[in-house]
Amino acid sequence: MEALAALIIAVLIGCGTYLTLCARTFSVVLGLSLMSYAVNLFLFFSGRLVTGAPPLATNIGATADPLPQALGLTAIVIGFGMTAFVVILALRALGELGTDQVDGEDEKP
């Protein structure tokens, strides 16, 4: 299962990276969202893979590590705030610059 988890991380982060490197704001936003999902997963995995034992204090025996879950939760929320911001920023850029290109090709020298 660990290999599968690592593979998921690799593929999702790779995909996110590829999209982030695209020349259009929409793709970049997609890529950032994808990367953000993957990173949260990574953060969560830092508590290892535990099946069937949510971290409730009432559960007896070993449970999943609650701390990475709390961190992941915070990271998801912050990531959401950032994504929202960048989406609107992309719109603003479209409105101000008249283009959604971000590869600098239409820059003045």
């Binding site: 690799a10 790779g14 995909c15 999209l19 971290p55 939760l73 998801i76 609107i88 719109l91």
Partner: protein
């Protein structure tokens, strides 16, 4: 303390002229004069103290840790400069009063002159290397401002910058040299360093130190090959030139040689470098001076040459040569200052400095001519004038050099040749200007004698040349003795300051120089013709400018090549670095840890495959954007499943609710984003992207693999144990969020609040074209709010709110919490907007989003701050069980209040963002141009 006052007086006094200029030019001049005169008097008092054997000094700790202190000392050498600098300065200020035109900002000139004077005095008086460097650089900077005084003139600006760059570079080299010297000596205190000559000369760092310090000295004193800035500095008004290039700025370099003479001299390296450079400069400057047509140009090159002479003298490395060097410093200051002033008078009265036009001025300004002739004769080394004395000492010393062995003749011969050149250019200065026929189309004709007071400084200086020339021992004897002693650091061998030493070789050399000089001047026409035809050495100034331009072009090309404004490039660099730092450490060693692997089950395998496929699908479809959003949505859903699969229900809840809001955001944005079929990025770019993505993916994957296969011993056991007794909740994740690490959560809602405020600001007055049809050209559906949807949402809203309340109240003990509850509420409200429209929804109830956010954050913060009232740390929680009839026992926790703040903030944030983004289309918007 008086030494400090000597430096501070002109520095603080520099404010007077700019302040007094409003009362007129005379008041301004008087102010400058008063400050300078006081400085001079103070210097004289201190000089007398030094003569009496009790040199004034002071020592104040400043940056004592590294040995930079305010240490000043008035020894002989310092006294020499302390008298020269304000002395000549006073004359220059008087002179400038008449030289400057009405338009010129006199207050600034006098102010800068005083600042410069202060820096120069500081250089002379410093008893600390670093302190000296500070003043040294101040002279560079103030001379930059002085040379660029006529800022409207391109040559002035360029000359100023060139001087700044060359002397500034020298200053940096000097800094390095001083630091090395300080490291060797273990102190920056000059008086202490001077005692360690033997230790330092034997040190392995001696050579680099000497070279660095010499670069500093040579740049300042315009020695070959750094001489070129000095002629360019002639673009300054003449009073400034007179000051900078006679007594002060350029003398700082030779002052430095004199100052460090006891430590650095006495080696072959010193001899060959210093005297070699000095000799080259002496000859080169003298030769070039002959061929200048600009009066000030001639003086500039002659200055270079005389500085070369002084440097050569210090390079000869004998005590008497040092005496001669010190003596020539004084003499050169007097005659060169008066010559500059005379040149200035001529320029002022005739409107030109071109010697080809200036002829026969004797007829129009005999008084000035007479003064100029005295000074020029001193420069040429004519007997009975001060220049003769020091030059003769110089000739004598060239005869005593043994290091050259059989080639010993070279030095006297070269010295004599330089003497010939000096006579020749001095003759030219006099003959070509005051005689040699009649003036040729002068801009101002006929010229007159200048105002009375403009000549007084020249008269004083010319008088000094004469006086010193005739009565040397009486006039400068004590000063010279004191100064030279402090240069060599030992008792001087006997020498005599007399005009007549009998017939000897130096006298012969002087006579040869005089005769030869006149001969050379007589043959000047042929020489000029020859000089024209000579394959000229490249002009150093032009080379310098070309180098500077090339450097700037290079820098611009570098900058332009580096930053083309592309987001891609920056991102690629960042990701590239990240990939490298992740993969390199993981590539070599065994990355697999010791932990046994958990087995894979079928559904999990399939879910993982689907998840990866959905990720790839997002990439594949990124140009079919709606489909890509759906693929992303699948990724989000499956990630939530992974969270559930590995026992993280809270994470799954958050992921699910955040995801749907993200999708809505993307859809709202997508409406405006134009769709074009633009050719993809270049294949090379795409290859780069694939390599980078693979790298980053592999890096993170390897990290995950390495991490997952290693055991973890974490602090979480504490949270599991303390959750109920300490935090009052069974859902440990929630207790961490609102209690153990509630501070993170407070930060997190702050981020959300700021993001919402920022989004609101960005939406302000945003003009985007509204597509009238979809991407395939179809008009939009006519019905804005499908009936079934709007009816159903009426029923769903209360239900959703109930669920939200459930998630909120249960959060502390079971999956849920304020954040998720807030999202559910917000999404349910947004559903109202989607189903019924913004107008309708806001008509029903206008929720004040901004205050909601503020109140939310404040509630959370205030809950945390409440614990301060009972002197517990911020965010200390409390909880208790309350028992009510019927209801039974239930728990109340301060964390719930905190969570309520989170809830309110989240609702406010999501609503503010989505509702306002939705409103974009309700404005009257001009279609914008979209490329």
């Amino acid at each position: 303390m008086n030494v400090l006052l000597l430096v501070l007086l002109p520095l603080l006094g520099a404010m007077l002229p700019p302040l007094t200029i409003r009362f007129g030019r005379d008041v301004c001049t008087w102010a400058g004069m008063a400050v300078t005169a006081c400085t001079l008097m103070l210097a004289a008092v201190l000089f007398i103290q030094a003569l009496e054997g009790s040199p004034a000094s002071m020592h104040l700790p400043w940056l004592h840790g590294i040995g930079l202190d305010l240490s000043l000392r008035m020894d002989g050498l310092a006294a020499l400069f302390a008298l020269l600098v304000p002395g000549i300065g006073l004359l220059v200020i008087i002179y400038a009063r008449y030289y400057l035109s009405e338009k010129d900002p006199m207050g600034r000139l006098h102010g800068l002159l005083l600042v410069f004077m202060s820096s120069m005095l500081g250089v002379a008086l410093s008893d600390n290397l670093i302190l000296m460097l500070i003043f040294w650089e101040s002279t560079s900077l103030s001379s930059f401002l002085l040379i660029g005084f006529w800022q409207h003139r391109a040559d002035a600006r360029q000359g100023a910058r060139m001087a700044l760059i060359v002397t500034g570079a020298g200053g940096l080299a000097l800094l390095a040299g001083f630091l090395l010297l300080g490291q060797m000596a273990g102190t920056f205190r000059i008086s202490e360093i001077l005692a360690q000559g033997d230790h330092i000369r034997a040190h392995s760092l001696y050579v680099p130190t000497l070279m660095l310090i010499l670069i500093g000295a040579f740049t300042k004193s315009a020695q070959f090959p750094f001489h070129f800035w000095l002629p360019k500095a002639m673009a300054a008004p003449t009073p400034i030139s007179a000051y900078l290039h006679s007594a002060t700025m350029v003398k700082a370099g030779v002052f430095l040689l004199a100052r460090l003479y006891p430590v650095l001299s006495g080696t072959d390296l010193w001899f060959f470098t210093v005297s070699g450079v000095g000799l080259t400069t002496l000859l080169m400057g003298a030769y070039a001076a002959i061929f200048q047509h600009d009066l000030k140009g001639l003086l500039a090159y002659s200055t270079i040459s005389h500085l070369g002479l002084i440097v050569l003298l210090f390079g000869l490395d004998t005590p008497l040569a040092a005496v001669a060097g010190v003596f020539h410093i004084i003499n050169h200051a007097t005659f060169k200052a008066s010559l500059f002033m005379a040149a200035g008078i001529i320029d002022h009265e005739t409107g030109t400095r071109d010697m080809r036009r200036l002829n026969g001025l004797w007829k129009y300004m005999p008084h000035t001519a007479a003064l100029a002739m005295i000074a020029a004769a001193a420069m040429a080394g004519v007997p009975l004038l001060n220049g003769f004395l020091s030059k003769e000492m110089f000739f004598a010393e060239t005869l005593h050099v043994h290091l050259l062995g059989p080639a010993w003749m070279l030095l006297p011969a070269a010295a004599t040749l330089a003497g010939i050149f000096a006579v020749a250019y001095s003759a030219r200065f006099i003959h070509d200007v005051f005689f040699n026929g009649a003036p040729r189309d002068l801009p101002r004709f006929p010229p007159h004698e200048p105002p009375r007071f403009m000549k007084i400084p020249v008269e004083i200086l010319a008088g000094a040349c004469l006086l010193v020339g005739i009565l040397p021992a009486l006039t400068v004897g004590p000063l010279l003795d004191l100064a030279a002693t402090s240069v060599t650091g030992e008792t001087l061998p006997p020498y005599s300051l007399a005009i007549w030493h009998g017939f000897n070789t130096p006298l012969l050399m002087s006579l040869v120089a005089l005769g030869g000089g006149f001969a050379v001047y007589a043959m000047r026409r042929r020489l000029f013709a020859l000089h024209e035809r000579l394959p000229l050495a490249p002009d150093a100034a032009a080379l310098f400018n070309a180098a500077e331009e090339a450097l700037i072009r290079c820098a611009r090309a570098f900058l332009h090549g580096l930053d083309n404004g592309s987001l891609q490039r920056s991102a690629a660099l960042l990701l590239g670095v990240a990939a490298l730092v992740m993969i390199l450490p993981l590539a070599g060693p065994a990355i697999t840890g010791p932990l046994p692997l958990t087995p894979i089950d079928g559904p999990s395998l399939m879910g993982a495959l689907l998840l990866m496929a959905a990720g790839l699908l997002t990439v594949l479809w990124h140009e079919h954007r709606l489909s890509a959003i759906m693929a992303l949505s699948v990724v989000g859903l499956l990630v939530a499943l992974v969270f559930v699969r590995f026992s993280a229900p809270d994470l799954a809840l958050t992921q699910l609710s955040v995801e749907v809001v993200t999708i809505m955001l993307l859809l709202l944005a997508l409406f405006f984003i134009p769709r074009r079929h633009k050719p993809r990025s270049r294949p090379s770019g795409r290859f780069r992207d694939i390599v980078l993505s693979t790298g980053i993916g592999a890096g993170c994957g390897l990290l995950a693999w390495g991490m997952l296969t290693r055991p973890l011993d974490s602090i979480s056991t504490f949270f599991m144990e303390q959750s109920i007794p300490g935090g009052g909740g069974a859902n440990v994740v929630n207790v961490i969020l609102v209690d153990f690490r509630g501070f993170d959560t407070l930060g997190e809602v702050t981020v959300l609040a700021v993001a919402a405020v920022g989004v609101f600001a960005m939406l302000d007055n945003l003009r985007l074209p509204i597509p009238a049809h979809d991407q395939d050209g179809r008009p939009w559906a006519a019905e804005p709010h499908p009936l079934i949807l709007s009816q159903m949402t009426r029923f769903l809203l209360p239900l959703a709110l109930l669920v939200s309340g459930f998630l909120f109240l249960r959060g502390h003990n079971a999956p849920g919490g304020g954040f998720i509850a807030g999202l559910v509420t917000a999404v349910a409200l947004i559903l109202q907007y989607m189903a019924n429209g913004t107008a309708w929804t806001q008509r029903q109830w206008r929720l004040p989003f901004h205050p909601l956010i503020a109140v939310g954050v404040l509630v959370a913060a205030a809950t945390g701050a409440a614990s301060l009232l009972v002197s517990h740390p911020f965010l200390t929680s409390t909880f208790g069980h309350v028992s009510l009839p019927i209801v039974g026992e239930f728990e109340l926790a301060s964390a719930m209040l905190f969570d309520l703040g989170v809830f309110l903030t989240v609702v406010g944030v999501i609503m503010l963002i989505l509702a306002n983004l939705g409103k974009l289309t309700r404005r009257k918007i001009r279609p914008a141009r979209i490329r």
